[in-house]
């Protein structure tokens, strides 16, 4: 794969390349820190919600059921039932804290509901399969990154609450700032697991640009506008893709501006009032010319090349 793969117009420092086992280089975008923080906050809100619902359910069962037992005079049975509910409660709290992330990240989307909402997912950093061990490792570390400092702050006594707050906050910050210290925005759990969090792409297949032309394969019926090779050689692939974007957005003022710029550059005066047809024709002919040269192994990245 040549490194001069058509440059995408939107480039960011978060773009990485991932090579599949078939040897195809795929562009992949590391999730932004904001998206990940948002996902985490939503997940924590979901967990809290689930915990509260569980607690209310268990409490209402406890109060409702217990009354029955005591009315029937069965004290031992009442205590047994209460104990069972208590066991359920402890296990449920343990699972919510430890298994929520595991369960969802092991699913086919590799993402918790929060991650899904912001459009990111977990993947293996080496391009291989995301394994169960990776998901376990990255989520066990969450315990010291997130839950422990919070528990630490919450469990501090009154007299040393200030010091505990400071220590807990410092601890929390060290791990929260981890993604700022490495280029792939890895948190401590990602480092230990060999995973990373990437954007989950979603794109529709857009209409083909040249198919709407009435131009024949051989170009026999003359189109409204014809451009000579010299007029086409002014621009390269970058300009072609910019033009493609303008045509897809199809905003009249942008079309007019771009037509004016192109016409000015190549010294044409026609096409005034027929901007769309002018630009469609220019786009198709420029792309045909660039693609022909591409097949011959000559690429022209932009107008300066």
């Amino acid at each position: 794969m040549s490194p001069a793969v058509p440059e995408r117009l939107r480039r960011s420092t978060r773009d990485r390349e991932l090579v599949t086992p078939e040897g195809i280089a795929l562009p992949i975008t590391v999730a932004s820190k904001g998206a990940r923080a948002g996902a985490l906050i939503m997940d924590l809100a979901f967990i809290t919600f689930l915990q509260i619902v569980t607690m209310i359910t268990l409490a209402s069962i406890a109060f409702g059921g217990l009354a029955n037992f005591f009315e029937a005079g069965d004290k031992a049975g009442g205590i047994g039932a209460l104990e069972f509910l208590f066991v359920l409660w402890i296990i449920a709290m343990f699972l919510f804290r430890n298994a929520y992330f595991l369960f969802f990240e092991l699913g086919p989307r590799g993402a918790t509901p929060g991650k899904r909402l912001v459009g990111v997912r977990v993947a293996a950093r080496d391009g291989g399969r995301l394994s169960v061990e990776m998901v376990i490792a990255r989520n066990l570390l969450r315990d010291i990154e997130l839950f422990l400092p919070l528990v630490f702050i919450a469990s501090a006594g009154d007299e040393d609450a200030g010091a505990a707050m400071l220590a807990g906050a410092a601890w929390f910050l060290i791990f929260a700032l981890f993604p700022f210290w490495n280029k792939d925005r890895l948190r401590a759990g990602d480092i230990v697991a060999g995973s990373w969090v990437v954007e989950q792409p979603k794109r529709k297949l857009e209409a083909a640009m040249s198919a709407t032309q009435e131009e024949d394969v051989d170009g026999a019926p003359a189109p409204a506008f014809r451009f000579s090779d010299e007029e086409l050689d002014v621009y390269g692939e970058y300009e072609l893709q910019t033009l493609e974007r303008v045509l897809r957005e199809n905003r009249p003022e942008a079309l007019a501006n771009v037509r004016q710029a192109i016409a000015g550059k190549i010294g044409r005066t026609d096409g005034e009032g027929e901007e769309r047809a002018f630009l469609d024709a220019y786009y198709s002919q420029l792309r045909a010319r660039l693609e022909t040269r591409m097949r011959l192994g000559e690429r022209k990245a932009d107008k300066f090349a």
Partner: protein
């Protein structure tokens, strides 16, 4: 790949070779997209058998479409679509193993034992630290009984304090009548111990030092208690009482500490790999051990909550404790031998 008749018109009309290329293959792309979308939603059952069988083939077809398109097409939107589609299909094809159940079987059937054997050095170090912690606890309290209060948390001592009479100490070792409250006790113990062992593992991230400190902190109390019971001639009874669940629980804590140490050691001494790769390899191995540790703690909590409170005599307790220890050792040492290459 021949296009459906309705599309022939579009292919004819396309002016550019790259667009004709696209129209000829579009049906395959759309089909792959539909399969991927359904698999992402977890609707595996609603996929037909043909679709499931076609997935790997379609994935390769579309991946090769992308390779060709990059060579012949300058249509940025189509390229971006193909890149996104191949990436999503790649996640589905190479995603997490579909069945947690099959993973669990491989894990219990040898994967866990292999990971434990792979970190033997860390297990030995953690064992040495735990033994040293116990000895230190004993010696400290033997030298000055005032240490006892600071080594054994007040909530845990429950009458087991220096100066307590033999009868009081004996009392704490006895089985209780009936089973009321035991399951709640077991659940609480499990939740608490599991959180401590996860902490021991996670702290390994700071080069293993806090893990070792946590191991020492948890074992000096044990040493202090041993001294206390030995002083009243109850050492044997105490060890028997402890061994019921202790062989399983201390083993689990040992493995958790060893996992943390393993990660910490790989970060400090990554060897030939880069720090990141070395840590990731160690982290995945340690995660396997840790999953097992949580399971061991479930067993330990059941033993502690039920077996210990219901079995009263020291001999019975010793038998249970030793049996569990032998069971774990045999499991870790024997199972999954010869499969060492699979993990590589």
């Amino acid at each position: 790949m021949s296009a459906p008749p309705s599309q022939n018109g579009a292919i004819e009309a396309a002016a550019l070779r790259s667009d004709r290329f696209r129209f000829e293959r579009e049906a395959d792309w759309k089909r792959l997209e539909a399969i991927v979308v359904r698999m992402e939603k977890g609707q595996l059952r609603r996929l037909s058998d043909e679709d499931v069988q076609a997935l790997p083939v379609l994935y390769r077809t579309v991946a090769s479409s992308l390779s060709v398109a990059r060579e012949i097409s300058l249509d940025a939107a189509t390229l971006a679509y193909l890149e996104a589609l191949v990436q999503r299909a790649w996640f589905v094809v190479y995603g997490p193993r579909s069945s947690l159940w099959s993973w669990l079987r491989a894990f219990l059937g040898g994967g866990w034992s292999r990971s434990v054997r792979a970190i033997w050095l860390d297990v030995l170090i953690a064992l040495a630290v735990m033994v040293a912690g116990t000895a230190a606890g004993w010696l400290l309290v033997a030298g000055d009984p005032d240490w006892y209060g600071s080594l054994v948390p007040g909530g845990l001592s429950g009458g087991r304090v220096p100066g307590a009479s033999r009868e009081v100490l004996q009392q704490t070792l006895e089985a209780t009548d009936g089973s009321t409250g035991l399951s709640a006790f077991a659940a609480y113990l499990f939740s608490n111990n599991a959180q401590v062992s996860i902490l021991a593992f996670a702290l390994g991230f700071a080069f293993g030092v806090p893990t070792l400190m946590l191991l020492v902190q948890n074992t000096v109390g044990l040493g202090a208690m041993l001294w206390l019971f030995a002083g009243q001639g109850l050492l044997l009874e105490f060890v028997a009482w402890l061994s019921v669940h202790g062989t399983t629980e201390l083993f689990a804590i040992l493995l958790a500490g060893a996992s943390g140490l393993h990660v910490g050691r790989s970060m400090a001494f990554p060897g030939q790999l880069g720090v990141l790769e070395a840590t990731a390899v160690a982290g995945r191995r340690a995660a396997q051990v840790m999953t097992g540790v949580v399971m061991m703690l479930v067993v330990a909590a059941l033993l502690e909550g039920f077996a210990r409170q219901l079995v009263g005599d020291s001999l019975g307790r010793f038998v249970i404790g030793l049996f569990m220890l032998v069971l774990w050792l045999a499991y870790f040492l024997a199972l999954g031998r010869g499969g060492e290459e699979e993990d590589k």
